[in-house]
Amino acid sequence: MKIVNALMVIICSLAPLKNYGKASPVNGKQHPGNSVAGMVRIPGGSYRPFLHRKDQPAVIRVHSFLLDINAVTNEDFLAFVKANPKWARSKVSRLFADLSYLNQWTGDFEIGDDKIKHSPVTNISWFAANAYARWKGKRLPTQTEWEYAAAAPPISTKKNARLTRIILAWYDHPNPIILPHVQSTYKNTYGLYDMHGLIWEWVEDFNSINMGDDNTGGTNINSFSCAAGSLNSADKEDYAAFMRFAFRQGLQARYTIRSLGFRCAKDDATITNL
């Protein structure tokens, strides 16, 4: 009996590991619009949000979900624009994207420079990212999901591979003229590439936290909001995270920025009880 118990324990503890690094099969139809290729399942768990209101719990439960292994590339996005011409550069509505939308491309349906085919698509607005995700049968990850997935450390255990170092090193260098390819930086323990160090990424609800007047991110939400309360930060030393939240603070959904792209998420269909 003891041996059986021991075996069960071993098998059960190994089970989550098998999902790392490859897409886990998901129930449901698999057709081009509903592909989960290139996604991994991020198992649920507890998460300590970086910024949380004082009257909200400091630790929250995150349900499991699927996330793209890497950011959406220029090539991926081109397919979307070709299928949905209203998202072409010359046709897009000014409500949905501002003036520098896709200005790294040479034309409505031409990327132009082969070197950036496999680089993350940037200069796309939240509306464009959201539309792409829907077209793919997916959605944008929420801020909580993205932060939870991004907090995983790099696979490499080398000293200079620590997460804060990677992030601060990225802040230290100006934007390269040619954006590197996806999967060109580090891989984390969930099997995700370039969560930090390549581009900023859109999240579904970037407008949900208001850091208010004080840009150190630790005090009051603007008093004009309902149920106004003050914010606590999980780790006052996490300067990299402050920067990321400050960046989101300045965003509006129609903005297009050279160093801002996205990746898609999807609900985990294996969960029946949310």
Binding site: H173, P174, N175, N215, F242, Q249, T256, L260
Partner: protein, 549 residues
């Protein structure tokens, strides 16, 4: 409404007062008790004037009863009501008209923005205007020190950012652009702004976008501006700072030269001087241990060929900011005294100051007149910062010197070490002579020690002396051929008499040293047996004999 109430109450009092004005007359027979009388004379109220002898005299002379009038109930009521009325109306009026000191501005003005060390000129017309300022944030790699590069985040492409010069009362409209190639969000906090974040929350801008806001320059003074995006320390440490001058209404006195300096620290992973592109080190920043403390964004930015220039007689004003992010500066110009210091960039003036403090995130204005030519080092007097970390700038002043103010070096002379005081010992009987003569080895050893402490400074440990100044002892014919073995020289010294040593001519002073017979004997034993010299030991008794001659 306000005016009506005021005049209503006021005019009533005034009319009543002037009603009965007469020259006051008092006499000893009367002292006054006034009380309102029920009777009236005509239409005017009367008062009973009670005289000393208790007689009541009716009078309409209101001036005599003025105090009672003023405090009579009716008038008191009226006065109180008027006051309430006035304040109530006043409050209402105040809510609608807004602040008093926002007088209308006329005309738009685009000021010239300059980069350090230059300062824009003062505006001719001091009347408040609408001032349009535009600043672009650029992240770029530039030189921090020789061989050392750094990724700076800048206002306007340089560190420090541009000098903004406005007038007290101006309405400033500021546009902050974040270059599309930048990575980070930025904003601006100007210490001259009255308002939340100093403008920071109105100007949070992501790359490729612009923010605009307006503020009134209500307070005159010299203020710092800097980026205030979280984490603020990192944005400042990367170079996002500059100065804004709000010139007071009455203006600043004219000077010949104005300069702009800004001190800031840099925290790099590599040590000071380590070459290459250096990343920012957050740990060192938190510990307040910079690798570089510099003026105007890089070591050597304002030294040598880039030094500030002025002429003798120039009145110089320097606007100095201290961006921090951590350290306070002890600002000093070596060789100058600040005749005038605008303390902390405000309105209080201090005079005749050598070193002044500039808080982190603060500024100061110093003035002085260049009286002498030369190169003057400008430093943070926490001195290791100046000479080891780069907190050094220079001011070169050209023009005629005035020896009365500063003479420069007047003399350069040799300095003999002071002779140990042996005056007391001379009078004592020399006892040593009667003690037994030490061995040659002992004499030699003592003599060596004595030679080193008394003679080697001139004659050198090598015995070679100094050509032209001090004769050699090594193989010296002068020494070795002397009848007295050199005892006389040690006893009396040599006083400018010319001598020849090994064919060379010497004329100088050898001081008369106070040495005992024993000491002389030891020294001579040593020198006459060193460096190729050879002779028997010299005895103390021999010295005594020659001394007593």
């Amino acid at each position: 409404m306000v005016l009506q109430g005021f005049f209503a109450a006021g005019s009533f009092l005034i009319i009543e007062f002037f009603n009965g004005i007469k020259t006051l007359k008092y006499d000893q027979d009367h002292f006054f008790v006034c009380r309102a009388s029920t009777k009236r004379i005509g239409h005017r109220p009367t008062f009973d004037l009670i005289t000393k002898n208790q007689k009541a005299v009716k009078t309409t002379y209101l001036n005599r009863c003025l105090p009672q009038i003023i405090f009579s109930r009716r008038i008191l009521r009226l006065f109180v009501c008027a006051c309430i009325w006035l304040t109530a109306c006043n409050q209402h009026a105040k809510n609608n008209t807004g602040a008093d000191d926002t007088t209308a501005v006329t005309g738009e003005y685009n000021p010239v923005l300059t980069f350090a060390p230059n300062v824009p000129e003062a505006r001719d017309n001091a009347a408040p205007k609408k001032v349009m300022v535009e600043i672009e944030v650029v992240e770029k790699v530039m030189k921090l020190a020789d061989g050392v590069d750094y990724t700076f985040w800048t206002f306007g492409g340089k560190v420090p950012g541009p000098f903004i010069r406005v007038q007290e009362g101006d309405e400033v409209e500021l546009r902050l652009d974040n270059n599309a190639n930048n990575k980070m969000p930025h904003n601006i906090d100007l210490h001259a702004v009255n308002g939340p974040g100093g403008g920071a929350d109105a100007t949070m801008t992501v790359p490729g976008h612009s923010s605009v806001f307006r503020f009134r320059a209500l307070n005159p003074g010299l203020f710092v501006y800097h980026c205030a995006t979280a984490p603020v320390g990192m944005h400042i440490a990367n170079g996002m700072y500059g100065l804004i001058l709000v010139t007071p209404k009455e203006g600043l006195p004219n000077v010949d030269k104005e300069f702009y300096l800004m001190q800031g620290e840099f925290y790099t992973k590599g040590k000071n001087g380590e070459p290459g592109l250096q990343p920012f080190d957050m740990d060192k920043a938190v510990k307040e241990q910079p690798e570089y403390v510099v003026f105007n964004g890089s070591a050597g930015s304002t030294t040598g060929a880039n030094a500030l220039q002025a002429k003798v007689g120039d009145r110089v004003r320097i606007y100095v900011g201290n961006a921090g992010p951590n350290l306070t500066s002890s600002f000093h110009v070596i060789g100058q005294i600040f005749d005038k210091v605008y303390l902390e960039g405000g309105s209080q003036i201090n005079r005749n100051v050598g070193t002044t403090l500039i808080p982190a995130g603060g500024a100061t204005i110093v003035e002085f007149t260049c009286k002498e030519p030369g190169t003057f080092n400008i430093v943070d007097h926490s001195i290791f910062r100046a000479f080891n970390q780069g907190a050094l700038a220079q001011l070169v002043v050209t023009g005629p010197a005035d020896k009365n103010i500063y003479s420069g070096k007047l003399a350069d002379e040799f300095y003999f070490p002071p002779i140990p005081d042996q005056a007391g010992k001379k009078d004592k009987p020399v006892i040593e002579a009667s003690s037994p003569e030490p061995s040659f080895a002992d004499r030699f050893k003592d003599g060596h020690a004595l030679f080193e402490s008394n003679c080697s400074s001139c004659h050198q440990s090598t015995g070679l002396g100094l050509p032209g100044s001090f004769p050699p002892l090594a193989k010296s014919d002068f020494l070795m051929n002397r009848q007295d073995m050199g005892i006389g020289v040690l006893l009396h010294g040599i006083n400018n008499e010319p001598i020849t040593v090994n064919g060379k001519h010497f004329q100088g002073v050898m001081p008369q040293l106070s040495l005992t017979d024993d000491q002389i004997a030891s020294i001579l034993t040593y020198v006459r047996n060193s460096w190729g010299n050879k002779s028997p030991a010299v005895k103390a008794s021999e010295v005594k004999k020659i001394r007593n001659q």
